[in-house]
């Protein structure tokens, strides 16, 4: 029995939640799960097939690896190929195809690329190899950004001069705002990201009901958490009073984690950032503040990237990330694009929608 996990997977509880959902679902509704972790959980636990057909769940842009632009990927690849550099990154980034190969291929050709579990592991690498320059490739949202900031502060405290970070960190509310304002897909509610909201707090999503009259239910990642949030969304749609509901109260507080946000704000400031599928979004990225520029890999290793960041031919990741297209509708899905030979990042990442569909929902019934 794993506390905080098993009880939220209790079949009896799930069945009752599903009964309530079936009763409430009286017309077609589309909800977007912002977070790729939710997409994976929904398909892994078979919730999509269990829910009434009137409830359509669309995947959103909540996969940091997937929204990393091709130009940024190429910058990381160029950095990894420089002499004397150890590039440390999360495992998800290894097989994402850039214009010319992936980090895994760069490693096969001699680049020193290491997979780490935490940015702190990259700090340890720098400590252990004073003669090498260790660069951490930082991809992530508000859940991850405070851990990067805390690692930088630790390196700063230790006076490590051979540690730096290439920040591709992004902020999620501007992405959700971009999707809602574009109105490419008709949405009736948003399943809010549980771990991003653990840091930013539920207030970060108040703009959705206020500006777009769309409800948001922040959800955990166990099946009962997800269904509870979907039930809350159905209730809110039915009563016609959109608001933000916290359906993941054991981890999420209205004010989020102020300490985590303090670290984030101390090290980074907010800048414009380029998102795959969404383009340039104002105030959606994190770059180093001047006082921490010594840790900015983009400043320490000025890069000239030969590519113009052209997306892979035929790849529809951009549309998948906006919820405009479901993975099986992409002509490349499970044909020329598979997890073994991915064309786009959505087929690689542990949070990518295409990877989730490929892994859990290949039977036509599941769609």
């Amino acid at each position: 029995m794993i506390p905080y996990v098993d009880s939220f997977r209790d079949p009896q509880v799930i069945n009752v939640l599903l009964d309530r959902i079936r009763q409430l679902a009286c017309g077609p509704v589309s909800f977007m799960e912002f977070c790729g972790g939710h997409t994976h959980a929904i398909l892994k636990f078979g919730l999509r097939a269990l829910m009434p057909a009137q409830i359509k769940m669309l995947s959103g842009p909540g996969c940091p690896v997937c929204v990393t632009s091709q130009v940024d990927l190429d910058r990381a690849l160029a950095l990894a190929s420089q002499d004397g550099i150890v590039l440390a990154t999360f495992g998800d980034m290894m097989r994402v195809p850039g214009t010319k190969g992936s980090l895994q291929e760069a490693r096969a050709e001699g680049a020193d690329v290491r997979v780490v579990y935490s940015c702190l592991d990259a700090v340890s690498l720098a400590r252990a190899h004073p003669g090498r320059q260790v660069v951490f490739l930082a991809v992530g949202f508000e859940t991850t950004a405070p851990t990067i900031a805390a690692s930088v502060l630790k390196a700063h405290e230790e006076g490590l001069s051979n540690f730096s970070v290439l920040s591709l960190l992004k902020l999620t509310p501007p992405a959700m705002d971009a999707i809602l304002s574009a109105r490419e897909v008709k949405l009736h509610g948003i399943l809010g990201p549980g771990h991003v909201t653990t840091v930013v707090g539920t207030r970060a999503w108040e703009f959705m009901p206020a500006k777009y009259r769309i409800p948001c239910a922040v959800a955990g990642f166990e099946p009962a958490d997800i269904l509870k949030a979907i039930l809350a969304l159905l209730e809110l749609v039915k009563c016609g009073k959109p608001s933000v509901v916290n359906a993941y109260r054991r981890s999420v507080r209205a004010e989020g984690n102020p300490k985590a946000r303090h670290f984030m704000k101390k090290v980074f400031h907010v800048v414009e950032a380029h998102w795959r599928g969404l383009g340039w979004l104002e105030e959606s990225g994190l770059a180093f503040r001047e006082e921490f520029q010594a840790f900015d890999a983009a400043v320490r290793f000025p890069l000239k990237v030969g590519s113009d960041g052209e997306e892979p031919r035929g790849c529809r990741c951009g549309e998948v990330l906006r919820g405009v297209m479901e993975p099986p509708q992409c002509p490349l899905f499970n044909k020329s694009c598979t997890p073994e030979r991915p064309v786009g990042p959505c087929m690689v990442s542990g949070e990518g929608s295409c990877a989730a569909y490929h892994r859990y929902a290949l039977s036509p019934k599941a769609f």
């Binding site: 794993i2 506390p3 905080y4 996990v5 009880s7 939220f8 209790d10 509880v13 009752v16 939640l17 009964d19 309530r20 009763q23 977070c35 790729g36 972790g37 909540g62 996969c63 940091p64 690896v65 999360f90 998800d92 579990y117 935490s118 940015c119 702190l120 592991d121 991809v139 992530g140 949202f141 859940t143 991850t144 405070p146 851990t147 805390a150 502060l153 630790k154 990201p193 771990h195 991003v196 653990t198 840091v199 990642f221 009962a224 509870k228 039930l231 809350a232 209730e235 509901v245 109260r249 054991r250 981890s251 999420v252 984690n257 300490k259 985590a260 670290f263 990442s349 542990g350 949070e351």
Partner: protein
């Protein structure tokens, strides 16, 4: 990338802790959750505890879920 798992804190020294995740022991940083105590469950993401799980809230949610029936209470 935003994946986080619940883990129980078994030892704390300074701003670091040993946690147990599904029987596996790991070191995590408490820099983001200084209020965490031995015996608490924390959500662990990328080597850091990002929140201390609220026992009371978890208990209330579970009770709510267990008491839910087809005609059950409104959310």
């Amino acid at each position: 990338m935003c994946l986080a798992v619940p883990a129980e804190i078994t030892h704390i020294w300074g701003q670091e802790a040993q946690v147990v995740i599904g029987g596996v022991k790991r070191h995590v940083s408490l820099m983001l959750t200084l209020e965490a105590r031995v015996g608490d469950y924390v959500m662990v993401h990328a080597g850091f505890a990002i929140s201390v799980l609220d026992r009371e809230e978890a208990k209330e949610t579970l009770e709510w879920l267990r008491n839910l029936n087809a005609q059950g209470p409104k959310l």
